[in-house]
């Protein structure tokens, strides 16, 4: 046994460390992939419910059955019935239509606006940049919900106010995120090369810069959907958003408020539906953040903080 002891040990330690790091990276990747697919599964389920609502449940969202009011969950009524005998499962399924639609519209309309303005501001600079960024500062100085409620005070309660309100507020974070990215990208070789080839500003912006600044915005948008659905539900709960008797998750929670002791399921179960949908979109966001590259994740994290200034915000 005349083997050198020191040398192999040192090699071992190094190999061990490398293996540990590799294991960590692999486990992180596996976790992210699982996040993505579980998220896609959950969101897919909700989209299916929204599209195929009449196939999933036989009763309509506003069908009253006054002989079977306040029924606890059972095989006949999976999530029970409310004080008017409406089936809570059917209402939850139909509500997916309005909640998903509002969630998507109030996320992607501001995304398009914000990315456009951020792109122009970052690329052109000058007075345009000053105006856009000061507007961003003012919007971000408001608590998100307060500004949306103020817009509703102007427009009047209802969905129109929600759409306008969230759009007026929501673009700012995308603009800020996009401008920050543009400032970095526009100094890179391939953009300088494109400009020096004499391509028009529009072409450089749309073909060369835009694809490179879109990814962090998309990652951020999945979190934004979660927050916007929560804003819609909160506003409806407060009586400022979707009006009764339309089936909407937040409104359903509000409907059950007076029955907390006698019929807990009316408020409680639609809340779980909201949580599940939000978890679905968040998981997609986490998975995408990893898949679209590590560098983006840090910046998306910053945006998350910034958003919250607006909602920061946000709900």
């Amino acid at each position: 046994m005349r083997r050198s002891i020191v040398r192999p040990r040192r090699e071992n330690a190094k190999a061990q460390l490398l293996r540990a790091l590799e294991r960590r990276a692999r486990s992180e990747r596996r976790w992210a992939a699982a996040s993505l697919w579980v998220g896609v599964g959950i969101v897919g389920l909700f989209v299916f419910c929204a599209l195929a609502a009449p196939l999933i449940t036989s009763s309509g969202p506003n069908d009253q059955d006054l002989l079977h009011t306040l029924q606890p969950p059972s095989w006949g009524h999976l999530l029970g019935t409310d004080n008017l005998g409406r089936d809570i499962f059917s209402r939850s399924v139909y509500a997916a239509r309005i909640d998903l639609m509002v969630g998507l519209i109030t996320t992607y309309v501001p995304l398009v606006l914000g990315v456009g303005l951020g792109l122009l501001a970052g690329y052109r600079g000058g007075w345009l940049e000053t105006v856009v960024m000061r507007a961003v500062d003012v919007v971000i100085a408001f608590p998100f919900i307060v500004l949306v409620i103020v817009v509703i005070a102007i427009v009047g309660p209802g969905l129109l106010g929600v759409y306008i309100g969230i759009t007026v507020v929501g673009w700012a974070l995308y603009a800020r995120l996009t401008r920050a990215e543009v400032l970095v990208v526009k100094e890179q070789q391939f953009v300088l090369a494109a400009s020096s080839l004499g391509y028009s500003n529009a072409r450089v912006m749309l073909r060369h810069i835009l694809p490179n600044v879109l990814r962090p915005n998309l990652v951020f948008s999945t979190l934004d959907i979660v927050l916007n659905i929560l804003v819609l539900a909160s506003l409806s709960f407060l009586g400022l958003g979707v009006q009764p008797p339309t089936a909407e998750w937040g409104l359903m929670v509000a409907d059950g408020q007076t029955f907390l002791l006698t019929a807990w399921w009316i408020s409680t179960l639609p809340g779980f539906v909201i949580v599940l949908s939000g978890v679905g979109f968040s998981l997609i966001g986490d998975g995408l953040a990893d898949r679209l590259g590590r560098g983006w994740r840090g910046r998306a994290g910053e945006a998350e903080g910034a958003l919250l200034t607006v909602v920061e915000d946000g709900a």
């Binding site: 960590r24 486990s27 992180e28 976790w31 000061r134 500062d137 003012v138 971000i140 100085a141 408001f142 608590p143 998100f144 919900i145 307060v146 409620i149 103020v150 509703i152 005070a153 102007i154 009047g156 309660p157 979190l223 979660v226 929560l230 539900a233 909160s234 709960f237 407060l238 009586g239 400022l240 937040g250 929670v253 408020q257 907390l260 002791l261 807990w264 408020s267 409680t268 809340g271 909201i274 949580v275 949908s277 939000g278 978890v279 968040s282 998981l283 994740r297 840090g298 994290g301 998350e304 903080g305 958003l307 919250l308 200034t309 607006v310 909602v311 920061e312 915000d313 946000g314 709900a315």
Partner: protein, 310 residues
Amino acid sequence: MTAYLVRRLLHAVLVLAILTLVAFMLIHLVPGDPVRIMLGAHAPPAAVRQVRHELGLDRSLVRQFASFAGGLFRGDLGTSINLQRPVGEVLGPRIGPSILLLLYGTVISLVVAVPLGVLSALYRNRPVDHVIRVLATIGLAMPAFWFGLLLVEIFSLRLHFFPVAGYGDSLFGHLRSLTLPAVTVGVYLAPLVIRTLRSSLNETLAADFITAARARGFEERRVIGKHALRNALIATVTILAINIGYLISGSVVIESVFNIPGLGSLLVSTISVRDFPTISALTLVFGVLVIVVNLLADLSYALIDPRIRL
């Protein structure tokens, strides 16, 4: 440093000025006649004329803005149409409960979130981390109003530990009444703190000065406790300041759920009567709160971190 201070202050003043303009413009953005909307379509013309005069709407825009801004400098926020009282008098007693709720909620949030965020970073990609991340994801997706109702259902209606709603009479009463709302605020804010703290700690733990401390042979406890955590705490202060708007948004809804006589519940209840002077004043108050907190955070951050002194 001085240059930075001046720049930062000027910026805050500019945003404040635009904010004032926005608050002033609210009533003028209303489609149709705001006075008719406030009083109803069948209000007698004399009353409409009187309210219009009281609001100064019969004067030119410039003079209206001058008197609005001049009033602000004298501490006059206008007169509530609905209550027929100065808005300052209506808002004054509501500031205390709102601030108390924000502070109480923040404390609860930190007590929950800081240990979880640190654990999550230290046990990165181990089961503990996964459980905490799942909890944070669920927390982020949870509607605050719904969680508040769950707490009421369990701890007020069934167990009778806390009052269902309201604000209490004494300081102890206030704290007791605000406990459930503050827990709701805390749970609403915690996921953000956990997520941001985790990623900021992970970044710190990968930094060169940590490697250097380890290379010097310091024990792990000292490396984490003295070097990493100190940075994490600075990060936490920033996280809280950046998210002050998010925090206020949550508390507006939560105040309404628990019927707390604060600014948020006032805002929500004022919308149905469309009391525009009150709405304008609340817009200003909330905006100023956010601007001041962000300003303080930036300044204290510049004091703590020498790299910011540009």
